[in-house]
Amino acid sequence: MKALCWTGVNELTVEDVPEPHLLNRQDALVKVTASSVCGSDLHLLDGYVPAMLAGDVLGHEFVGEVVEVGPDVKERRVGERVAVCSILGCGRCRYCREGLWSLCDNTNPNPGVQEKLNGHSSAGIFGYSHAMGGFAGSHAEYVRVPYADVNAFPVPENVPDSNAVFASDAVPTGWMGADLGQVGPGDVVAVWGCGGVGQMAALASLRMGAERVIAIDRFPERLGMAAAIGAEPLDYERADVLDALKEMTGGRGPDVCIEAVGMESHGTGPQYVYDRAKQAVRLQSDRGLALRQAVQACRKGGTVSVLGVYVGMVDKFPMGALMNKGLTMRGAQQHGHRYIPMILDRMSRGEIDASHLLTHPMRLDDGPEGYELFKRKLDGCVRAVFRP
């Protein structure tokens, strides 16, 4: 079958690879019908996530059809259309039982590096390096899904792939950002980053009753999409973000600051130059410009919710602001299983439509070009989605 493989830093190739087969009794095989690029893939592509090997199959946000199930799969059936959570849970460990699915104890067979770096390992993720389990990704014709009963969710018939594909990652991740921030009626929420996840965090905040959502980015088309959702766009290249947020919130600062950017944050001014230089020579692994700004901007006693992916150390973290302003900071890879059934249900009822994110439907053969458009934000690309 065809699959899009990482073959080196900023190098992708479509290759013929062997088809997957069931490796465990609770596995299912899914024929992929749509598989999206994701901003977090760019960290792999750019070589910032360790333990990638040339030949690894990328992709973690996808929908498809179940074509085979293992003997211990009880719920899923051959022929079902499913959205599969990008993060793998086992459904039985304490974390999964408590709804903290991305902290699953059992789905990362390769926990060694994380245990050393972070103290503990988190859950496995499709197509996200050997340190996150070494699972083959979804930019392929078929993908093997472990613990299929808990990781694959039936898609209602009236929800097209172009919407359902984002129930796999972008929508639940965004939803979790607002949920971790405990967004409620009357809140002012600021969201850094208007990619798929940031837009969905803005949407979720509004659905949870936020009175105002301010969406920060520099690309007009992304700011325009955020505005269409109901957020107020703020272009960080045209305004000083901290000054603007104070002015927009009567000096208080946003109640909840959602960071949907991650370790390759862009920005302006000397701090950005400093971050890029230190990351380039590997003196820091992660550029934390947006994160610092979120902490700085947040109102006293507010919450900073971190959705952007970080893998290691951020330099110059404003710990004094966090402590003295009494902030709460929360973050996680998505606990998608907690939200996906609700999201698919809302999609079915027309309450969530993420299909506008899909700016570039493409063939899997055009995968390298899709990532180039996505990475360079060319041609208004917000998400390229491959149809194998």
Binding site: M1, A3, C5, T7, T13, E15, V17, P18, E19, P20, H21, L23, N24, R25, Q26, A51, L53, A54, G55, D56, V57, D72, C90, G91, R92, C93, R94, R97, D105, N106, T107, P109, N110, P111, G112, V113, E115, K116, G124, H130, A131, G133, G134, F135, A136, A140, R144, P146, Y147
Partner: protein, 115 residues
């Protein structure tokens, strides 16, 4: 000299590797305890205790060995989910000459950790 100083600072005792399992301690201490646990107990000092707050059972194995840590995690996974997740045998593209050499090292490192 420097090597001797470093060596003398290294702890003499073998560390414990511990996991908490969603299981009743009684199921892990009697005659019917899982085979994998019995095999680990033949070769290592093992401590099994009830976790606080009804949070299952703590299994601690005295080991500095990566292979044993892998077995302890497999035991936990087997007890909780009924199977040990496999990743070998999945689709992969062409490995470069470097990749073919590095793959076993990276897999070993990511699975068992650098120590």
């Amino acid at each position: 000299m420097a090597a001797r100083v470093l060596r003398s600072r290294r702890p003499e005792t073998v560390p414990w590797y511990a996991v908490t399992v969603e299981a009743d301690p009684a199921a892990l201490t009697g005659r019917d305890r899982p085979d994998l646990l019995a095999r680990l107990a033949e070769r290592h000092e093992i401590r099994i205790s009830r976790a606080p707050g009804g949070r299952g059972t703590e299994i601690a194995v005295r080991t500095a060995d990566g292979a044993t840590r892998e077995q302890v995690r497999a035991l936990k996974q087997l007890l909780e989910t009924g199977e040990v997740l496999r990743v070998e045998g999945q689709p992969e593209g062409r490995r470069t000459a470097f990749g073919r050499t590095a793959a076993p090292v990276i897999r070993h490192l990511t699975r068992r950790g650098p120590r």
